[in-house]
Subunit: 324 residues, 2 copies
């Protein structure tokens, strides 16, 4: 009930296929490397240097291509329909890969700040374009680094997912934000930001336009959120100045995490308001960075409770105390 | 917003502690083995055979003890209070271990059906008792088998968690069930059961009192739910006949899964109505069994979408096709 599940049958034919061992991280060069552009589907977008080189050749700084193994496909109609009690819909969606660098080896922390600016500007460009497709309700950016679900590709990349239904996490967040707004007539994220800045103990880094802090009820040790100081429901309307600040502060945060936690696996997710809420007075775009570290708390985790073994004030202090 | 997080600071002092390697599964004998009763806190409940032997000695078939490493503690007041925008409460709750057998080696699939009946009857006894504590809103049983979060203890055991707040999964389920009931005036679980029995393609096993099926929108390959045929909000009011049937059908399901998936890790969670809803016309207690198999779908998973690579009809057919 109230749950959408993507049934993807192309990768598994028999129960035994479920046991395939995870492949090891690949060495370069790979399909995302400069010079290997022919191995990907034609590019959707790129930032290129110099006198307008050809698409799908080298010379790019950031390159966006469709996923070769999409969980969802752009083609076709939604065809939402009933199946007895259940609802069924075609697996429509966009699944794009943002290749963050022509170099195979590199991380968010090792990219120069100008390269990170390009990456964040590429997210913005692609989200603006994906918004034009009225079938898509929600657009997320997910940046996995060395996580189990992140897959085997080492070449630095992030993923854009546009879907006709709300991801559960965003749906929940919207419901809660709306309830808060109905009661107080204020954006809950703006209120949190105000309180965090006044308190200061959970702040990790801040600049003119954005603030990074360890959220009060962080689910995982060293979870960090990054929010724009000024209320804005959608990320993709950010000015260049905000994009620059996001790059600067995000780089500071990932470099601090790399030092304090010895290069941890992490997932970075960009939440921007879904279609129909892009002018919302209660939704406030943000980045959620979750390192995958720390002991599992057994059955308590499996019951669906979040157990955090590191208070956010301590995490923020450890992060503030290392150099940027 | 709308999220409770348990902050447990006893196990981690510094960031480096987050990297402790997972210990390997322990060989017996352990604190849960017969003859080692002095290694656990005093027992809360046991089924014993023969002429009333002493508590905390051998002679038991199933034994329930408090957890030695509780994420939540029974002692104290809730003390729910504000902290600026946030709510804070003391970590009150019960965290009990149901030792399912005096033998170190054994699994849900290998226990005789009478032993499994004892286990399920012990869940019932303890939940009835925990209901008497008005501080507890929700009670869950979680049975982990060889999962990462399940911890290192191999001795067969399940866990009872009583908490003052609803686990997110149960809260979501209640909201959806209530919305369905408000609209149709019927229990959504009863309707699902009716449709599944009429359709038949997703049924795995059934008996007089309970039905096991692969849910239409299962989140994971070979997810199986077990529901009582007759509407009942709470498990703990089940008759002996229902307990016997749960044991029989659950044993069939785990033995089938063991054959089809080669002894998969799994998590089994019992959902029973929370306090205040124990006579609910829309909540229907059930067991959710989720094997931990199958490839992760990368960023799509990390965005919070469930991706299932095995349609439930195929899973149910594979399970039906092996002998019980």
């Amino acid at each position: 009930m109230g749950r959408w599940v993507i049934v993807q049958t192309e990768r598994v034919r028999r129960p035994a296929d479920l046991h395939g061992p995870a492949a090891a991280a690949s060495a370069g060069p790979c399909a995302f490397c400069a010079g290997e552009e022919h191995q990907t589907p034609p590019e959707l977008f790129a930032f290129r240097s110099g006198p307008e080189p050809e698409p799908n050749g080298p010379g790019w700084r950031v390159r966006v291509v469709p996923s070769r193994f999409p969980a969802l496909r752009v083609e076709g109609e939604l065809g939402r329909r009933g199946h007895g009690l259940y609802d069924v819909t075609n697996g429509i969606g966009a699944h794009e890969v943002v290749v963050e660098s022509p170099e195979h080896d590199g991380t968010l922390a090792s990219l120069p700040v100008s390269a990170l600016e390009d990456v964040i500007a590429a997210w913005r460009e692609r989200i603006v374009d994906l918004r034009r497709d009225a079938r898509f309700r929600s657009i997320l950016m997910v940046r996995s680094y060395r996580t189990a679900a992140g897959g085997v590709r080492a070449h630095p990349h992030s993923v854009l997912l546009a879907t006709p239904m709300l991801p559960p996490a965003v749906g929940e967040e919207l419901t809660q934000a709306r309830a808060y707004y109905d009661y107080r007539e204020r954006c809950p994220f703006c209120d949190v930001l105000y309180q965090e800045l006044a308190d200061g103990t959970r702040i990790v880094a801040a600049s003119d336009h954005v603030v990074a802090f360890a959220p009060f009820a962080g689910r995982l040790p060293f979870e960090v959120w990054l929010l724009p100081r000024r209320h804005a429901a959608t990320f993709e309307r950010s000015t260049d100045a905000v994009v620059r600040d996001v790059a600067r502060v995000l780089r500071i945060v990932v470099r601090k995490l790399e030092r304090v936690l010895a290069d941890p696996p992490f997932t970075l997710v960009l939440h921007t308001a879904p279609a129909g809420e892009t002018d919302s007075p209660y939704y406030h775009w943000h980045l959620e960075l979750q390192p995958a570290v720390g002991p599992a708390a057994g059955s308590v985790d499996e019951a669906g409770f979040h157990v955090n073994v590191m208070p956010p004030e301590d995490a923020a202090r450890y992060l503030r105390d290392v150099p940027d």
